[in-house]
Amino acid sequence: MSSGFETVADAPSSTTGREKRLLRPYGDTTGDGMVQLSFTLPLSSLGPLAKVAQGAAVQLANKMGMDPALVAHAKPMGPDFTFFVVYGRVNHLVDPSVVEIVEREYELLTPKEVNAAIKRTLRRRMVVVGACIGTDAHTVGIDAILNIKGFAGEKGLEYYRELKVVNLGAQVSVPQLVERAVAEKADAVLVSQVVTQRDAHLLNTREMSAAFREAFAPARRPLLVVGGPRFDETMSEELGVDRVFTRGTTPGEVASFLVHRLVTQRRAS
């Protein structure tokens, strides 16, 4: 997680600086490769079936690259299921230098700096419209970012003097959201999605981004930001949005991103 307001950002770190290094999991000795795993098989382990069930668990662990695999715990759950805890050594190596991550491409700003940047460049308040779309009734995410109470010790966007925040709450339909974004002349639209059953968060986001693309000329379209605990930061292009935020994002990060894209970059272009 990022630092709070007080520390002014370390510049975005670069991807190229990481050295090639091969690692194995660490149990109690360097290089022992030990991992633990728990899972359930739809298999009875009552009476004589216990050995078969254990063997099946070992088989799965072996196929996952654990060898040797030790079934530390096998517990029947009713007549049809068994829960296993398996310890074992994996033969895989990991190389952190080839891990791809979304680097923070913007500088972390304090609320003061955010306000100053907007005032200096936009010369008006920046308008942010937020909502939970679809049937999702969980406002915890959007509220953490927008409400003055904020999240993780940071105050929400409502606290920023130069931001005009319109929080539409839960269960907002996409047409309502578009309409409101037009009416408010929104600079940015923030959408939170918590419910992920049947990929609702992905479907809703795609529907939303398509609707905005249809309703606005590319240059006039508000910045689209989506957030939720089950999103993947690398998916922004696929979802048709400008940025995806995941679990643990703080209001300061969102505000800094908005300034980066709407103030800093616009000024540069």
Partner: protein
């Protein structure tokens, strides 16, 4: 039996000042009374539709719009809602517009019936006819209540308190059923079927068995019936009556309460202010719907669960602790006014204090005990940690263990089982199994601590070492007065 004895011997541990408690209740009454007056003088579309449902109107048109909505909309368009639907509807039936409610609803939605507000003798006749038909529905609810009582006495009740409350939520009633039966087999005394997200804001109750829902399954009469039937089967198999819970909240709470009564649901989530505070529903409508739904629950012998946990999941559990107690007092006032009895008040409370705070467990214990002693006859619904479940399932398991311990030590009536995978996934079968092992261990290991201490305090069981209470001051130090309670036989503090 044991339960009864424990109650009778246990002495208050907090020594709450009775005058302060009386004053708190008096304030709740003062706040609540004008709201009750308002509720008595108003009706809502959902209250009216609930009345039609109790009178026997069920089903939906081919588009899935329930007939109660169709009929209510048609009557409302002709004569308005303020007089209630009963007079115009039964007047139309008496005029021979249709032979029964469903036909009337069909005709009305086709636009071939006009409604009027009858007067004089005709109004009297319509009133009598309406009363007779609705009373028949109320008798069906009464019959379901008696059926529950009969089943409990024949099959047996949950063997111990707290009742273990588990949630199923697949979105598909046919998936929910085997999961619920499995959960019952694993030890659940109460099964709650979480509703689909968004149902609270639907202004109609969906029809039929449903297989599509997000993060939950729609509350429908058929889903209620299917699940209750399945749990009746499990109850017989297990030799204990397994209770079924759903949600009477949101826009259709009166109708859902009526359906719960008709389908013998046993508990309903039903908070007096949740819709206003957390779902932005019109306050007048909420209070009117609330009162009606609670009257139905009272009649149907349903235990309500109130939603105080929401105050703690949306605010700091220490700073906002008083909001829980305030809401419990208001919920109690509104519930009693609507006819619910103490045993039906599952007043809510949750274990949500930041575990990084020093003395967090002590504060949890103190607050849980406050609820226990403020409402000594209410079952109390004890809700597990969610805010401080981080995804570290191992730490979460420990936190749930402490939650269970606080529940055991303070005699909570209904314990919602916490899942270590809270905030990670919707619970897996293994999560539930582990969670139940956690509950069982704590209840077996510490469930009798309250009894021990109580017996110990009355001096009736000197043989019990009262280990837990060896130093009551550490456990109950939230109540300094207790520790100095001289009426208590001197604690057999293990001399170490």
């Amino acid at each position: 039996m044991v339960e009864e004895r424990r109650r009778s011997v246990s002495k208050p541990k907090l020594n709450l000042d009775p005058a302060t408690v009386r004053r708190a209740r008096g304030l709740a009454r003062k706040v609540g009374r004008p709201i009750v007056k308002l509720a008595q003088a108003h009706t809502t579309v959902s209250v009216e539709r609930a009345t039609l449902r109790i009178a026997g109107l069920a089903g939906a048109d081919p588009d899935g719009t329930p007939w109660v909505n169709r009929l209510a909309d048609a009557v409302r368009a002709d004569v308005g809602l303020e007089h209630g639907l009963a007079l115009p509807v039964w007047d139309a039936l008496l005029r021979g517009e249709a032979e029964d409610l469903e036909t009337l609803a069909q005709k009305a939605s086709a636009g071939s019936t006009r409604f009027r507000l009858p007067e004089g003798r005709q109004a009297q006749k319509a009133r009598t006819a309406a009363r007779r038909q609705v009373a028949a529905g109320v008798r069906r609810i009464d019959a379901r209540r008696r059926e529950r009582e009969r089943l409990i006495s024949r099959i047996g009740d949950a063997p111990r308190k707290p009742w273990i409350y588990l949630i199923v939520a697949t979105g598909d009633i046919y998936e929910d059923i085997p999961q619920a039966q499995q959960a019952a087999r694993e030890g659940a005394d109460v099964i709650a079927v979480i509703r689909s997200t968004g149902q609270s804001l639907l202004d109609y109750v969906p029809e039929g068995a449903t297989r599509e829902g997000f993060a939950g399954t729609y509350a429908t009469q058929e889903n209620f019936r299917l699940m209750r039937a399945a749990l009746d089967e499990s109850s017989r198999e297990l030799g204990r009556y397994v209770r079924l819970t759903n949600y009477a909240s949101g826009l259709c709470m009166p109708e859902i309460a009526a359906l719960a009564g008709l389908e013998r649901l046993d508990m309903m989530l039903n908070d007096s202010m949740y819709g206003i505070l957390f779902r932005d529903i019109n306050p007048v409508r909420t209070f009117v719907d609330q009162r009606f739904s609670r009257q139905v629950h009272a009649r149907a012998g349903i235990i309500i669960n109130t939603g105080e946990d929401n105050y703690l999941t949306t605010d700091d559990a220490v700073e906002a602790a008083h909001t829980v107690t305030t809401s419990q007092l208001l919920n109690e006032y509104f519930a009693k006014e609507a006819g619910l009895e103490d045993w039906q008040l599952g007043l809510g409370h949750a274990f949500e204090i930041n575990p990084d705070l020093k003395d967090s467990f002590r504060m949890e214990l103190a607050h849980a005990l406050l609820a226990r002693e403020l409402f000594p006859k209410a079952p109390l619904k004890w809700m597990p940690p969610t805010r401080h479940m981080t995804g570290d399932v191992f730490r979460g398991y420990l936190l749930d263990g402490f939650f269970n311990l606080a529940g055991a030590l303070t005699g909570q009536g209904i314990l919602l089982v916490g899942m270590m995978t809270e905030a990670v996934v919707t619970p897996w079968i293994s999560d539930r199994d582990l969670a139940l092992q956690n509950v069982r261990y704590v209840m077996e290991a510490a469930g009798d601590c309250t009894r021990t201490s109580a017996l110990h305090r009355t001096g009736s069981s000197p043989s019990v070492p009262a280990r837990c209470w060896g130093r009551p001051s550490t456990c109950w130090s939230a109540s300094p007065s207790t520790t100095k309670d001289s009426s208590m036989p001197s604690p057999t503090a293990p001399s170490d």
